[in-house]
Amino acid sequence: MKRLFVRVEKCLACRSCEIACAVAHSESEDLFLSVQEKSKPRSRTKVVMNFPIQCFPIQCRHCKDPYCLDACISGALSRDPETGIIILNEDKCVGCWMCIMACPFGAIKAGAHQKIALRCNLCQEREEPACVAACPTKALFFGEPQEFKKKLKTCQKG
C-alpha cells in the first residue's frame, strides 16, 4: 500500500505543498481562478515549525489505530477496506469537530463555509498527491515503504 513519507531535513518550509493542496481541493483546480471562488481554497496540509530546529508538513497520517475514528459521533469516518486509508463521508459529517479534538497531530481543520471536517485523503483521484508533486526539494515522497527505503539508501550513498 502506498504511503506518504516526509523527510524532515529536506523541508524548507516554503509551503508550496499548502498552496498545491488548497488548489487541488478547489472547484476550478487552478491557482488564479480558485482564489476568486466563493469559498476560498483551503489546504489540508500544514507546514508546522519549531524554528530553527525543524519544520515539516503535517497532514492526516491515516493512523493504524486512529483516535479520530473512536471520536466520530456520526459514523462519517471509516477505514477504506481496499486502500487502508481513513475516508470521510462528507454527507454524514455534521461538523461537531470531535475529530479535531481527537487528532494528536492537529491534522484536521474545520471547514469555514460548510460544517464539514477538512482532512487529507492522499488525493485519491490523482496519481500522486498534489503536495508531493509540488514539493521543490522532494521532501515528500509517495510510494510503497520498500521503494522509500531504497530511495533513502541511494540518497545516503550519494
Binding site: R3, L4, R7, V8, K64, D65, Y67, S74, K92
Partner: protein, 430 residues
Amino acid sequence: MRYLIIGNCIAGINAATSIRNLDTRNDVTIISDEKYPAYGRCLISYYLAGTHREKDILLKEKDFYQTSHIELLLKNKVTSIEPESKRVVLKNGKKIKYDKLLLATGARAVPLGVEGENKKGVFRFRTLDDAKSILKLVPSSQRALVFGGGLIGLKTGYALKKQGLDVEIIVKSPFILSRVADRNSAQLITSWLIDNGIKIRTGLGPRTILGNKWVEGVVLDSGEKEECQIIIAGKGVISNMEMADNVGIRTHWGIVTDSFLKTSMDNIYAAGDVAETRDLVTGEYVTSARWTSAAEQGRIAGLNMAGEPKEYPGSIPCNSAEFFGLPIISMGHVQENDEGYETTVRSHPGEYRYKKIVVHKDRLVGAILIGRVENAGVYLALIRKKADISCVKHLLLEDWFDYGKVSHLIEGQDGFRESMSIGGDIIRIS
C-alpha cells in the same frame, strides 16, 4: 461458541466489529431493547432540531450487520443473567446462551425527582424514541423548560430553539456546563446562547410540575411559577447496572472493570457508559459516559473477548459541541479550585474566543477551547502522554501553537499508539 453483546450503541457495535475482525467462525449476537439499527446517540439533538432525518443519523451502512455476520436482536430486553449456566433471560422468557458476554447497557437520565413528573410533556433525552416523542409535541407547544445545564441540556435547548420554541434552560449550579467548563468560559457561552435567543437561569430547580394530564407549567424552588408545555430532564445520567448487581457482579458508580475491561465475573465484560474505568489523569475510577471513551472501550473489550489481550489505557473526559456556530471543546480536568493546579487563560474581550490550560506538576491536565478549536487534539495528546511541558508551557496559549512545537514530546515515547505508520512516516535522519 457465541459472543453475546447487550447494547447496540457504539460500545456494542465496536466490540462486535473487533471480534469479527479476529474471529470469523463463531457467532456474534447483539441484543437491543430499541427498535433501530445503531444510530449516533449524540445526533438525536440534530434530529430534534430538524436538520437531520432518521436515516442521516444511522452509524453504519444498511447491510452492516449482514455483511459482518452479526446477528441483531432488536426490541428485546434482557431481564437477567444466569452466570452458572452462561445464559441471559429475555423479557419474553426466552433464554440465550453465551460464552463471552459484554454488558454495554449504557445509562439512563436521572429523573427530576419532583411531584408531577409522570405528566405528559416531561421528557428525558437519551434515545431516538425520546426525540420522536418530543417532536410530536413541538407543533402544539410554545415554551420549553430544560432542567440541567450540561451538554445534553444545552443540546436539547438548542434543538428546540431551532424548532422555533421559546426555550429556557434552568440550572441548579451557579453556572452552566459546571462539569466541563469553568465560571468564565461558562459565562462566555451563556452570553452567546442568550444572544441567540435562549434564556438561561442559574441557581434554580423545579419543585412541582403543574397540569392535569399534560404539563402546563412548573413551580420553581424559588416559588416562582413558569408556564410551559415541554419539560426536559437533563440532570445527568446513571448507569444501567441493575442486571449486573443482581447476580453479584461488582458495581460502584458503574460496573467495575479491570484494565482489560473484564468485570468481577468470569467471561463477562463491560464497556461504554455502564462501565466504571480508570481516569487517565486522576487515576480515580469513574463512569465516563462519553462517546469517545465508549467507542474505545467497546473496541478494546471486543479484542479481549476474542482472545487478543489488550489493556485499556483509561479515559480522559473530553467533548466537543457547537452551538449557533460557536465551537466548544473541553478536555481533562478544568476546575481551578484545587490546590497545586496552575491555570492560564487567554481571552479576547468582546470576542467569543477563550483558551485555558490547566497544568499540574508540569503536566497538562486540562484545556478549554472556545471559538477557535484547531489543534485541540494536540493538547489532548499532551494530556494522554503526561508529557513534561515545562519547556513549552509559554507556547501553549499562542494562536500559532501547533504540533510542530511539541512533536518531540508526543512522538516516540511509550504508551503512544503505534499510530503514525499506515499513512506514512515522518523521517528524521540525524
